[in-house]
């Protein structure tokens, strides 16, 4: 039978069918056409152009709303088409404003990065004063996980605290006011959406729009203090066009997990890589599925040329494997949970309880899957000339050497309330650590030891994947927790020894408002302060526990004030563990007035990782944090 080519109309209908747009008289026919098209490689390269064309309509709608003349068309019909498109989009935002607005903001930030736009000074009537304590987390309403009713204003010391039920505190003027329903006030600016934002960190992206915001505007800036002439650490960008696998730094949009915890992560190029113009070798991925939160963090070995590829591939494969196996797995409810529940067999390997053993096996399978993925990635690239040329020989598995840390979490309802179940497993250095509700620390890994600072183990060493070894490296717990932190050694080393160093890390994250806590009210905070060497708000205001630090970036030095819980504890006349145990004292340290505009926690995490200085610490830094915003 003679084969007629598919008509263009049929093609268009089948594309619309696939996208679920409009009604279809003959869906079966459209489906058949689609299957033919999808199998055609030339068609596949066309698809992005088609979707871009469709998305372009939305861009036109935004341009019109913002006040730019659309090139679409000028007729009344055209304008009304675009208008209703924009309204429809706003409706969609409004149906889940907290999460969706977050992604829109992220997209705007993306668009603003690398621009040299200096926001104008704020008008004098705006509520920003350096001498008064600000509420912690002013913009909590706009953040993921916050109820949209507006009632979640963090209590503050502010003299001009707005009456209960009034509209939220104004965000910095540049962003405009956003009604909590997600429906913008008529005529207010709207933001373009880059297709809702990717779910995984984009390796090429450099989220730097916040740089200008972090720089303090104090007059001391113009006359730098006299400094001995010390050699500068350079910023050398990655040669993207020559590099087959450019990996810059990134942060991930925060997720709210089942169980209501907040999940955020970021990774940055270390000072050394910036100085030498080489890539970030760290990677991380996280995901929630069913009741589970899945976290993977990896560190490519510095001396191995494509270890960053190993790190990325390992994380992705591991999370995919964890997802597949845990999506239908639920822990058996039991009363009570005890140390006995976690007993292992005589060999010290398998857990006696089957549902726990499934989790352990899943972690180990994920390690194996990660290994296989790195091996496959090696084979794929070994066949490519550009890699052979760059290596001067054939690429082998150890060229992609990396460490891998995995952690899974679920909340478990026990008699006392919602507790946290975590099981972690790692190969190589780095650390997973939990801060329990009582303010103590639990390390979920063992530190490397040896006479001199030596070599870590890698995922790519097959012997590390033996059953006894993996069991030895698997740590579970069930406990009420404040936070779980998973990190590469770029961070873990700076908080050594990790017991109790991880407490100090948690404290630093809270004080620098990366971990936002909603907790004690001003009364509780004041009462706690009275027992310290800083009994009044004025004492607190005058206390110094922060330093100005800087790091080179593509846009020049990034400067930020970095708070230290160690210094804060000293000012209070308390030990660090005492401060961590007290949510009120932590809140006091975090509440202190900030200079410069606010940035969201995930961007702060990335900037903090980038900017904090520790002598001799130049490695890439990656940290994933899973935390509760308030005690259950």
């Amino acid at each position: 039978m003679e084969q007629q080519p598919i008509k263009q109309d049929e093609m268009i209908q089948s594309i619309r069918w696939k996208l679920g747009l409009g009604s279809h008289q003959d869906a079966a026919h459209s489906e058949a056409i689609w299957n033919l098209l999808a199998a055609n490689p030339s068609f596949r390269t066309l698809v992005p152009k088609i979707t871009e064309g469709l998305a372009g309509l939305l861009a036109q709608a935004f341009n019109q709303r913002i006040g730019l003349t659309p090139t679409f068309g000028k007729s009344k019909d055209d304008l009304s088409f675009l208008d209703s498109l924009c309204d429809g989009f706003a409706d969609w935002v409004g149906r889940d404003s907290a999460g969706r607005i977050l992604r829109l903001d992220h997209a705007i930030r993306e668009a603003l990065r690398n621009t040299r736009f200096d926001p104008p000074p704020r008008p004098s009537s705006a509520p920003h004063s350096g001498g008064v304590l600000h509420p912690y987390g002013t913009n909590t309403d706009a953040r993921a996980g916050a109820p949209t009713s507006g009632a979640s204003l963090h209590p503050s010391f502010r003299v001009d605290q707005p009456p209960a039920g009034s509209p939220p505190v104004a965000v910095p003027p540049a962003a405009g006011r956003i009604d909590l329903s997600g429906r913008p006030a008529p005529g207010s600016p709207k933001s373009p959406d880059n297709a809702g934002g990717p779910a995984t960190p984009r390796p090429g992206s450099d989220h730097r729009a916040d740089v200008a915001a972090i720089e303090p505007k104090s007059p001391a800036e113009s006359t730098p203090p006299p400094q001995p002439v010390t050699p500068r650490w350079n910023y050398v960008p990655i040669p993207r066009d020559k590099d087959p696998a450019p990996h810059d730094d990134s942060y991930h949009l925060p997720l709210v997990t089942p169980g209501g915890l907040k999940l955020l992560g970021a990774r940055v190029r270390g000072k050394k890589h910036k100085h030498e113009g080489t890539n970030c070798d760290d990677w991380f991925e996280f995901l929630t599925v069913g009741p589970w939160t899945l976290i993977a963090v990896a560190d490519g070995a510095g001396s191995h040329k494509f270890s960053r590829v190993g790190a990325k591939v390992a994380c992705r494969a591991a999370v995919g494997s964890l997802q597949d196996r845990l999506q239908d797995h639920v822990l058996r409810p039991r009363t009570p949970w005890s140390a006995e529940t976690f007993r292992r067999d005589e060999a010290g390997q398998a857990f006696a309880e089957p549902d726990l053993e499934i989790v352990q096996e899943t972690l180990h399978r994920a390690m194996h899957a990660a290994y296989e993925a790195v091996a496959a990635a090696t084979a794929e690239r070994a066949a490519q000339l550009r890699y052979t040329e760059l290596m001067g020989r054939n690429l082998i598995l150890s060229d992609l050497s990396c460490t891998l840390l995995l952690a899974v979490h679920a909340t478990v309802l026990v008699k006392e309330g919602n507790w946290d179940f975590v099981m972690a497993c790692q190969i190589g250095d780095g650390m997973s650590a939990a801060i329990y509700r009582n303010g103590t620390v639990g390390l979920l890994g063992e530190a490397d030891s040896g006479e001199f600072s030596g070599q870590t183990k890698f995922l790519t060493m097959k012997s590390e994947l033996s059953r006894p070894n993996l069991c030895h490296k698997t740590f579970p717990f069930l406990s009420p927790m404040r936070a779980l932190m998973v990190m590469t050694d770029g961070v873990a080393d700076d908080y050594f020894p990790n017991d109790p160093g991880m407490l100090r890390l948690y404290g630093d994250l809270v004080l620098n408002r990366i971990i936002e806590l909603r907790g004690p009210g001003p009364g509780g905070i004041a009462a706690a302060l009275r027992e310290t060497l800083l009994p009044t708000p004025e004492d607190l205001e005058r206390a110094e526990f922060e330093s100005l630090m800087e790091t080179p970036t593509a846009e020049g030095p990034l400067r930020a004030t970095v708070r230290s819980v160690a210094a804060f504890a000293e000012r209070l006349g308390k030990t660090i563990p005492e401060v961590i145990r007290s949510p009120a004292l932590l809140a006091a340290g975090a509440c202190k007035a900030v200079r410069g505009a606010e940035t969201p926690p995930e961007a702060r995490l990335r900037d903090w990782l980038d900017v904090y200085q520790v002598r001799g610490s130049f490695d890439d830094r990656t940290l994933v944090v899973l935390h509760r915003e308030e005690d259950p």
């Binding site: 010390t230 050699p231 070995a301 030891s449 040896g450 006479e451 001199f452 600072s453 200085q613």
Partner: protein
């Protein structure tokens, strides 16, 4: 932020200050040391990790500079005169490696594997063999021994370490080149410390023409 105790790269310079070094050679050593300091201070990675110590030996050995960070390091006064107590120097080195270099413990980050540069221009005048054997066997650091000039014997130095180089003479430019090579070795090592395994061989940059590796 509180300064954590970072991992240091300890660097020991063991310098022969016997009588035969007097005059031009010891002056060249002084200048070489000055240049080394200035060079290392200009490198941000070396500045944060390298700690330097100087041990001199003539009739006896002395640690004229304890292990110090580069910014705080004070140039020692070097004078030449006396015999060549290499054994004494090696015993002193052993003591310093034991007491000054931090070992890794559960609560303390260990230093990176120390770099030791030993330079001698003549035959040892004390019994040094036992000290040499002990040092070699302990593998307490990466030792590079330099036999400078015609009076020195490179193959003898092999008793101390596998890495031996020979400098054909004690001319100022040869000594200058030696110190430049030391500096470049320290920089290279401080750039790769995070990657090198505890017991893998140190990766040194190629020596200048005035210095030959003794196979």
């Amino acid at each position: 932020m509180a300064e954590a105790m970072g991992r240091r790269l300890p660097v020991y310079l063991i310098l022969d200050c016997s009588g035969s070094m007097s005059g031009e050679p010891i002056e060249a050593v002084r200048q070489g040391l000055r240049a080394l300091l200035s060079d290392l201070r200009g490198d941000p990675q070396a500045l944060e990790t390298a700690f330097l110590s100087v041990i001199t030996f003539s009739s006896t050995a002395q640690q004229v500079c304890p292990l110090t960070e580069l910014l705080a390091f004070q140039e020692p006064t070097l004078t030449a005169g006396g015999s060549t107590a290499l054994g004494d120097a090696l015993k002193l080195l052993e003591k310093c490696l034991d007491t000054e270099v931090r070992k890794a413990t559960p609560t303390q980050k260990g230093d990176w594997r120390p770099l030791v540069f030993l330079m001698t221009d003549g035959q040892p005048t004390d019994s040094w063999e036992q000290a040499a054997d002990r040092i070699k066997q302990k593998k307490a650091g990466n030792i590079i021994a330099c036999a400078a000039g015609s009076g020195a014997d490179g193959s003898m130095l092999k008793r101390i370490t596998e890495i031996v180089v020979e400098m054909s003479n004690l001319q100022p430019d040869a000594l200058k080149a030696f110190f430049r090579w030391v500096s470049s070795s320290v920089k290279t090592t401080s750039q790769s410390v995070a990657q090198v395994a505890a017991d893998s061989p140190v990766n040194l940059p190629p020596p200048p023409p005035q210095i030959q590796i003794v196979p």
